[in-house]
Amino acid sequence: MKFKQTVLLGAAMAGLLASSAASAAEEQFIGLPSYRVGPYAAGGVGIFGGWIDYMQLINERDGGVNGVKLTWEECETEYNNARGVECYERLKKKGSTGNTVFQPVSTGITYSVLEKVAQDKIPMVTIGYGRTDAADGRVFPWVFPMITTYWSQASAIVNYMGQKEGGMDKLKGKKIGLLYHDSAYGKESHAIMDKLAAKHGFEVIKIAVAHPGNEQQSQWLQIRQAKPDYVVLWGWGVMNPTAIKAAAKTGYPREKLIGVWWSGAEEDTIPAGTAAKGFVAAGFNVAGASYPVVADIKKHVYGKDKGNMEDKSRIGSVYYNRGVVHGIITVEGIRKAQEKFGKGKSLTGEQMRWGLENLNLDDARLKALGATGFMPPLKITCADHEGPGKVKFQQWDGTQWKVITDWVDSDRPLVRGMIEESAAAYAKEKGIKPRDCSKES
């Protein structure tokens, strides 16, 4: 009798272990190094809210990716490099196969873990931030600065100005002010703007704004004196509304003030009040809640009261939608990797890297995702970890962003040349032998 009980108990235990192993195998863990408190919380709440809502949508509407449920855990970085590294370490071994992909949403943290991700074999996706030359996948196989980089953005902004002037040749002799955050992020614009100025014959007037940028009177007096035809606002945080207000105060036309994507959110325009009307900004994603993907989130996630955003009025804002883009890329990377390594199976970081490197979100796929026009079509290859390098331009009408252009191209040959040159220098410095992409499958 006792023997029979022991056998039954053993069988039950084995069954339990097997079922828990099976359920663990059906999960894919994504670590989220979020920032919901501290100086940049306003952006973080939107980005991570949108991202989580999209993953929740996949779980609620589709039952996961081919049946694999997405799981996640947030780790608060406060946008601090040291904490970001701590979060990376804390999250990397979570889940049955470890962290699938690391997306730090911070250039500083990106640089801090750049070499770690290669050692740990965890792909790092940096959408619209991070190290630009990492777009050369031959030198940086584990880093994916997807959609567009700072250099592509600068080039697209100049192309937009060319469109407004009636041709790139019309930029000759023009003056373009570059009001930049006096940091590594702000100075990332210098090399590309100098190259573009030399190519098109315009003059760049670089004006630095010391962090945090809450006082810009002297900069705008210099702008008033120089009378530039356009001003590129390469700002961050409080620097943006301060610049917009100062532009209004000095009488500079807002439609000639062109913000980068970290200057073009509701968080930048609403504090500036009526002064922001007419302000134009670039974006690799657009604002709006009418896109089918956002409508689906409202229906399947918020309809079941499982949404992440406390302030629901922010659904469809620039930062929220940027988070949805992060979610789309994460999920589609998993989906692509599953095609090769087995549908319904959870993936390792190495397998996910393959998925990301073979990602192809063409028009048809974007339409199926309900994201046509929401983000540009995206094709990643072994050599090109960036993709299209395109942005749309939106204009603030006083209450909301209105899209005013289609996707605007960057000067791809020029930008790609700079990327390869810089990546080659990095490879030489670090003794890295670039991959031969013809041998990758």
């Binding site: 630095a208 010391a210 209004a248 105060k249 002064a275």
Partner: protein, 308 residues
């Protein structure tokens, strides 16, 4: 020449904005000898509480958001919140540390900074808000048309508010019983206690007044740049002002503000282009450092002499 005048006047007016924040530091330092590291966080907390009430009151009272009743009620409630914060700070943070070295109190205010920032964002959220005080931030047309000098109406309004605050505080310190008690406490805690001045009450009053100053500063800075976490950084602008003007002088905060404001703008415009620009961030500190070497107590600060 008119460009120089414009830079100079603009700088002076910016300096007044810095002085507004510096005043809060001076008040607390005067009464308790504590350098209140949390002053920037108080500015943020006060402004966020004001706009937070502005958002919720129309729903509670069934009134239009732009109603003046909503504005003044929000102001009153934000001020009450600052009083509660001041009283709680005295009760929880300062009282247990009476007679402890100043550095201990200073460290306590560093901790207080994070608590206040956390409470503010936890209560009202992290969303960046606009704040409209009804004064447009645009140049005075007459000056622009006749002399091509752009002096902002908003900056002049801020200067007026700062001047009124200084006058009010000067009256409080010079001509009221509380003011005299404040000065006595500032001179010597033990001596003030020995003649029956209630130290704890005085500290509560002074933290409440500093809260009021933080509210005014937060509203003005918030109206200019939006009510957001970056308001805590305004404290960074106030530090060189304090070093220059003296930590214990209300007029010193204003004069220090004017000097810092004007010099940083002139330096940025005329020196900045030769060194790559963006010098506004560190130039005031360099100036303050140089000043420290010559006059450590600041322009109007009390000279401290120790008998050895």
């Amino acid at each position: 020449m008119q460009f120089f005048i414009e830079v100079l006047v603009g700088g002076l007016l910016s300096g007044v904005m810095y002085a507004l924040v510096a005043l809060g530091f001076v008040l607390i330092y005067k009464a308790s000898g504590v350098f209140n590291f949390a002053q920037g966080a108080m500015v943020f907390f006060a402004a966020l509480t004001f706009v937070g009430f502005q958002e919720v009151l129309p729903g509670w009272l069934g009134m239009a958001a732009d109603s003046s009743i909503v504005f003044w009620l929000a102001f009153l409630l934000a001020f009450l919140a600052m009083i509660v914060l001041g009283v709680a700070t005295e009760r929880i943070v300062l009282r247990p540390l009476v007679n402890q070295p100043h550095i201990t109190l200073f460290m306590a205010t560093i901790g207080l900074t994070y608590v206040i920032e956390g409470i503010a964002q936890m209560t009202w959220g992290a969303t960046v808000r606009g704040l409209d005080l009804g004064i447009v931030d645009e140049p005075i047309a007459w000056l622009m048309d006749n002399y091509e000098i752009g002096i902002s109406k908003f900056d002049l309004f801020a200067a007026g508010v700062a001047a009124s605050l200084v006058a009010l505080l000067a009256l409080l310190f010079q001509y009221t019983k509380v003011g005299r008690a404040l000065r006595a406490v500032a001179d010597d805690h033990q001596a003030a206690l020995s003649i029956g001045i209630p130290l704890q009450t005085i500290w509560r009053v002074v933290w409440a007044v500093a809260g009021f100053v933080a509210l005014v500063a937060g509203m003005i800075w918030g109206a200019r740049n939006g009510v957001q976490f970056a308001l805590t950084f305004t404290a960074l602008k106030a530090l060189p002002v304090l070093i220059l003007g003296g930590f214990t002088s209300v007029p010193g905060a204003i004069v220090g503000g004017l000097i810092i404001g004007a010099s940083e703008k002139l330096a940025e415009v005329y020196v900045g282009p030769f060194v790559g620009g963006g010098i506004e961030g560190w130039f005031p500190y360099m100036l303050a450092l140089a000043f420290l070497l010559v006059r450590p107590e600041g322009l109007f600060g009390e000279k401290h002499i120790d008998r050895v």
